[in-house]
C-alpha cells in the first residue's frame, strides 16, 4: 500500500510538471510572435539612423505593440503598420523591407489615416501574421493585389474608365469596353452598356454565305482588327448559324432602300477618292491599320458588303443601327455613289473568291438549329441585346471578381497554373475554354500586354461599391443634351461619338463641348461647322466635313452659344480693371518670356504642339482666354499647357495681346488643307 501510494505521488509529480509545461507553451509562442521581433529590429534600425539624440530616444522608447489604422467609413481596421512601421518615416527612405518608407504617390503621404493600406493593396488588414495579412495562402480571405497589378487598387474607388496616373488600369478598362465584356457580364456602372456589334437583320442582303463562313470560323483572320472574338465553332455550327442568319427577315424599309440603291448606276471612283479624304473617314475608321481605329477597318469592306448595301448604309447609317456612332453625312446622291464606287474599286480583298458575296438558299431545319445555337452561344448578348431594364446577363457577374480567394476559383483542368487570382484571370482571358469541357467564353486573342491590363481592370472590381466618402468627385458636371431640332442635329452628326459634353461622349476629340459656348465666337463656329478644318495640326483625328447646310450650322452654333456656357467665365474680363491691365505690349512680353512660342504658332514661327493662335481674336472669346490662362487644367484635366500661376494682371495683359491677333481668313483654309 505504501509503495503504491509512493508511485501514485511520483506520477502526480510528473503529470503536474507536464501540465505546467504544456500550459506555458502557448504564452511562450505568443511572446515570440514575428511582429515583436520586427518591431525590435525597427527600433534598433531607427536608433542607428537617427540624426539626433532625441530622435534616437524616441525610437528607443517605442513600445512593442500592435499598431492599427481604423477606417470608420470602410468599417475596416488595417494593422499593416504593425510590421511596416516605417511607411511614413522619412528616415526609412531606403531601409530594407518591411521597414521601408512608402514611395510617394497621389495618396502618400497624407492619406494614410484616411485610406489605410488595404484600400489600395487589399490583403487582410486585421491580420498580424504574415501569410494571412498578405493573403499568400489559397484559403486567404483577401489576397493582396500583386505589385504588377497594383493599379487595380486605384480602380476600387476610381471607377471611371479613364483614371489619371493609372495608365494600365485605364487601358484595361478601355480594352474591356472595346471587347464588349459588359455585354455578357454584369459589372456595376456598366448596366447601360450596349455592344457596338451590328444588328444582324440586314445581313442576308449585306453579305454572302461564304463571307459569313469565313467570319464565323475566325473573325480576326478576315479582319485583324475584328472586335468579335473567336468562338471556335464546329463546321456544323457555322453552317447552321449561316442558314439562320439568312433566314432572318429584313425590315421592309431597309430592304427597299437597299434594293433601290443596288439599281442605281455606278459612280465615279476618282471623285469618290477625293470625297473620302475630304470627309476624313479615317478620323474614326482605319484603312490598312492607318487611322483612329474606333470604327471598323475599311480596306476589305467591299468584299464583305454588297455595293447596294454600302450605298444605302452610307446614306442613313442610323436607320440600320440606331445606336451606331457613325454620323449621317450630307452627301448628295451622286456623291454617295462616287464614294461607294471608290470603296468598291479599292477596298476589296483581291484574294477572295468571286462568290464571297453570293447569298445562300436557306434550309429551314438548319436555320432552326442555327437559331438554337445563336441563343446557346450567347450571340444575342452583343447582336440582339434585350432593351430596357437590367436582365440576367449571359455570363457570370464580374462584380467582386477582384476580391475572390484563390480557393473559391475553379481551376478545373488547369493544374499548371499558380493558385492565385491573377494567374486564373489571365488564363481565363488567354484560353477561356481550357478549364473544363463545355465552357462557352470565346477567345479574344489578347496579347500578353492586353491581358495584363485587363487582369488589372478585373482585379479592380470589388463586390461592393466603396462608401460615398471614398468616391472621387466626378470629372466634370453633367451637361444637358437639348431635345427638339438641335437635339436631332446633335444625334444626326453624332457629336458625342468624338466630343465630350459634360460626363457623356467619346474621347476622340480633344475639345470637349461642355463650355464651347463660352469659348468660341459664334460666327467663327458657324463657319467652322459648315467647313471644318484642323485646329491642331499635330493631331491625326480631324473633324469630318459633314457638309452641314447654313441653316443647320446657325441653329447648332446658336444652341451651343446659349447652352454650353460656364457662368464663371466673364463675358468681358477687363470690366472694372485699371487701364494698365489692358496693355497688349506687356502681354506680348509675357508671351515671349513664358515660352508660349514653344507650342503655339503666331504668324511665322512657333511650335506645333498646341493650336495656332494666329486667328485668336476671331476664334476665341476674351473671357475664355483669361479663364484658360488662369487655370488650363480646370477646363481639360489632361492638357499639357502649364499652369503658370499668373496674376490677374498678367493674365489680362496676355489676353489683351492675344486679342490683337487676327489672321486673314485664308490662313484658316490653309490649315484645313493640311
Amino acid at each position: 500500500m505504501k509503495k503504491d501510494s509512493l508511485r501514485l505521488r511520483l506520477v502526480f509529480a510528473i503529470t503536474s510538471l507536464l501540465f505546467l509545461i504544456v500550459l506555458a507553451i502557448s504564452p511562450a509562442k505568443n511572446y515570440f510572435r514575428e511582429y515583436r521581433s520586427v518591431q525590435r529590429d525597427f527600433r534598433s534600425l531607427g536608433m542607428s539612423r537617427a540624426k539626433s539624440l532625441k530622435a534616437a530616444q524616441a525610437y528607443q522608447k517605442r513600445p512593442v505593440a500592435i499598431e492599427q489604422v481604423w477606417l470608420r467609413d470602410l468599417d475596416r481596421v488595417d494593422r499593416c503598420t504593425t510590421c511596416h512601421l516605417g511607411v511614413a518615416d522619412p528616415a526609412m527612405a531606403d531601409a530594407p523591407e518591411p521597414h521601408r518608407l512608402h514611395p510617394r504617390t497621389a495618396h502618400t503621404p497624407g492619406d494614410l489615416e484616411r485610406m489605410g493600406c488595404t484600400s489600395c493593396h487589399a490583403g487582410e488588414g486585421l491580420a498580424t501574421v504574415r501569410p494571412e495579412a498578405h493573403g499568400t495562402t489559397a484559403e486567404a480571405e483577401s489576397p493582396m493585389i500583386p505589385l504588377a497589378y497594383l493599379e487595380a487598387g486605384c480602380g476600387r474607388c476610381h471607377t471611371s474608365e479613364k483614371v489619371s496616373q493609372a495608365s494600365l488600369l485605364s487601358r484595361g478598362r478601355a480594352l474591356m469596353t472595346r471587347a464588349g465584356c459588359y455585354a455578357c457580364h454584369a459589372v456595376r456602372s456598366h448596366e447601360q452598356f450596349r455592344s457596338e456589334a451590328p444588328p444582324l437583320n440586314t445581313i442576308s442582303v449585306k453579305t454572302g454565305g461564304e463571307w459569313i463562313h469565313r467570319w464565323l470560323k475566325d473573325p480576326s483572320a478576315v479582319n485583324p482588327n475584328a472586335t468579335m472574338p473567336n468562338f471556335h465553332l464546329e463546321p456544323k455550327e457555322i453552317e447552321e448559324l449561316t442558314h439562320y442568319l439568312f433566314s432572318r427577315p429584313v425590315p421592309r424599309d431597309l430592304a427597299a432602300a437597299i434594293e433601290k440603291a443596288s439599281a442605281e448606276p455606278a459612280g465615279d471612283a476618282a471623285t469618290g477618292k477625293k470625297i473620302f479624304s475630304e470627309s476624313r473617314c479615317i478620323s474614326c475608321h482605319t484603312v490598312e491599320g492607318k487611322g483612329n481605329g474606333s470604327a471598323p477597318e475599311l480596306s476589305k469592306v467591299a468584299s464583305s458588303a454588297t455595293p447596294g448595301w454600302l450605298l444605302a448604309f452610307l446614306r442613313d447609317p442610323q436607320a440600320f443601327d440606331p445606336v451606331t456612332r457613325m454620323p449621317r453625312y450630307h452627301f448628295s446622291d451622286q456623291e454617295s455613289r462616287d464614294l461607294v464606287a471608290y470603296v468598291t474599286a479599292e477596298f476589296r480583298d483581291f484574294d477572295a473568291p468571286k462568290e464571297i458575296l453570293e447569298p445562300i438558299r436557306v434550309n429551314q431545319t438548319l436555320a432552326e438549329n442555327g437559331k438554337k445555337a445563336f441563343s446557346r452561344l450567347g450571340c444575342f448578348s452583343c447582336h440582339d441585346p434585350i432593351q430596357g431594364e437590367a436582365t440576367e446577363k449571359f455570363g457570370p457577374e464580374l462584380n467582386g471578381i477582384g476580391e475572390k480567394r484563390a480557393a473559391s476559383l475553379d481551376f478545373g483542368k488547369r493544374t499548371d497554373l499558380a493558385r492565385n487570382p491573377p494567374a486564373w484571370l489571365a488564363a481565363k482571358l488567354e484560353n477561356p475554354r481550357s478549364f473544363a469541357a463545355g465552357l462557352r467564353m470565346p477567345s479574344y486573342g489578347f496579347n500578353a500586354d492586353d491581358t495584363h491590363a485587363i487582369v488589372t481592370a478585373l482585379l479592380s472590381l470589388g463586390s461592393q461599391p466603396v462608401p460615398e466618402a471614398y468616391r472621387p468627385p466626378l470629372s466634370g458636371s453633367p451637361a444637358p443634351i437639348p431635345g427638339g431640332a438641335v437635339g436631332a442635329l446633335i444625334q444626326r452628326y453624332r457629336c458625342l461619338s468624338c466630343h465630350q459634353i459634360g460626363t457623356q461622349g467619346g474621347d476622340i476629340s480633344m475639345a470637349p463641348l461642355t463650355h464651347e459656348g463660352s469659348k468660341v465666337q459664334r460666327d467663327w463656329l458657324v463657319d467652322y461647322l459648315m467647313l471644318s478644318f484642323t485646329i491642331r495640326p499635330i493631331l491625326e483625328e480631324r473633324m469630318p466635313v459633314f457638309r452641314i447646310p447654313k441653316d443647320e450650322a446657325v441653329l447648332l452654333a446658336d444652341a451651343i452659344e446659349s447652352f454650353y456656357v460656364d457662368p464663371s467665365i466673364p463675358e468681358d474680363p477687363f470690366a472694372g480693371r485699371p487701364e494698365p491691365d489692358r496693355n497688349p505690349v506687356e502681354g506680348q512680353r509675357l508671351y515671349v518670356t513664358l515660352g508660349c512660342r514653344g507650342c503655339h504658332i503666331v504668324g511665322a514661327g512657333g511650335g506645333y504642339y498646341g493650336p495656332p493662335l494666329t486667328d485668336t481674336s476671331t476664334r476665341l472669346k476674351p473671357g475664355w482666354i483669361y479663364a484658360w490662362l488662369k487655370a488650363p487644367q480646370r477646363w481639360r484635366a489632361d492638357v499639357r499647357c502649364p499652369n503658370y500661376g499668373l496674376s490677374d494682371t498678367d493674365a489680362l495683359r496676355l489676353t489683351a495681346y492675344l486679342g490683337t491677333l487676327h489672321g486673314e481668313k485664308a490662313g484658316a483654309k490653309v490649315g484645313g488643307k493640311k
Partner: protein
C-alpha cells in the same frame, strides 16, 4: 430472543487502523449477514490523486492537440453560397446519412425520437434486468427466429438500398451466430455472455458508427460517394 446489549460508542485511538464495522440486525429480518472481506483504501490520496492526475492528463493531451491542430474556421457565413455538401456536426452525420435513405420524417424525427425513448426506458424494461446470456438454454427454434428476423430486416433495408445499415446488420447477425455454443475466455466467449438487450445495443452502436463514419468521410458533393483518400479537384 434476549434484549440486545446496550450500545456504547467506542472511540478508536488507533488512527491508522481500519474502523470496526458494526451491523445492527433487527429480530424480524434474516439473522445472517453475508460478509466479504473487501479491501478498502482511503479516498485521499488514492482516489483524489488519481482524479487530479486524470484531469491533468486530459488537459495535457487536449492542449497538445490545441497546439498542433487549429480549430476549423472557414470564410464568413454567406447564406447565398451553399457549400456542397453542407454537413452538420459529426455527431449528427449519422442522421444526415439516414436522410439519404429514408424520408425526412422517418430519418429526422421518428428514428432519433425512438432512440431517445428507447434509451430512457432501458432500466425500466424487465428484460434488461433479467436477461441472461442469449443462447443459454435456447434451441433450434430460436436460431430460426433470429435468422428469420435478420433476413426480414436485411430485405427491408435492401429495398431502400440502405446498404450502410443492411451490411452491418448482417455482420452483427453473423457475430450472434458465431457466439452460439461457445464459452470460456476470449472474444467469442465474451460474445457468448451477451444478453439479448446487449446484442440489440451492439447492433445499434455498430450501425450508428458506420453511418457516422460514412457521413463524415465518404460523402462528397451532392451527398455522392467519395473516397476520402482521393482528393477532389474541384467542388
Amino acid at each position: 430472543m434476549s434484549t440486545l446489549p446496550p450500545l456504547t460508542a467506542v472511540e478508536s485511538n488507533d488512527p491508522v487502523g481500519t474502523p470496526r464495522r458494526i451491523a445492527l440486525v433487527r429480530p424480524d429480518t434474516r439473522p445472517s449477514v453475508r460478509r466479504t472481506e473487501e479491501r478498502y483504501v482511503m479516498t485521499f490520496p488514492h482516489l483524489i490523486l488519481r482524479e487530479v492526475i486524470l484531469f491533468q492528463v486530459v488537459v495535457i493531451l487536449l492542449s497538445l492537440a490545441a497546439l498542433v491542430f487549429n480549430a476549423p474556421l472557414e470564410e464568413m457565413a454567406n447564406p447565398v453560397e451553399t457549400p456542397n455538401p453542407a454537413k452538420a456536426p459529426w455527431y449528427f452525420l449519422g442522421l444526415q446519412e439516414l436522410l439519404h435513405y429514408f424520408p425526412p420524417v422517418v430519418a429526422g424525427v421518428l428514428l432519433p425520437g425512438l432512440v431517445v425513448v428507447a434509451l430512457v426506458v432501458i432500466p425500466y424494461a424487465r428484460v434488461n434486468l433479467t436477461a441472461g446470456p442469449f443462447w443459454e438454454g435456447k434451441g433450434r427454434g430460436t436460431s430460426l427466429t433470429v435468422a428469420g428476423i435478420a433476413a426480414a430486416l436485411f430485405l427491408f433495408l435492401a429495398a431502400f438500398r440502405c446498404w450502410a445499415i443492411a451490411i452491418p446488420t448482417l455482420l452483427v447477425t453473423a457475430a450472434l451466430f458465431a457466439a452460439r455454443g461457445t464459452q470460456g475466455p476470449g472474444f467469442r466467449g465474451a460474445l457468448s455472455r451477451l444478453s439479448l438487450p446487449q446484442w440489440i445495443m451492439t447492433w445499434f452502436v455498430v450501425v450508428a458508427t458506420v453511418l457516422t463514419v460514412i457521413g463524415t468521410f465518404f460523402r462528397g458533393p451532392g451527398w455522392s460517394w467519395v473516397w476520402p483518400w482521393l482528393s477532389v479537384t474541384h467542388p
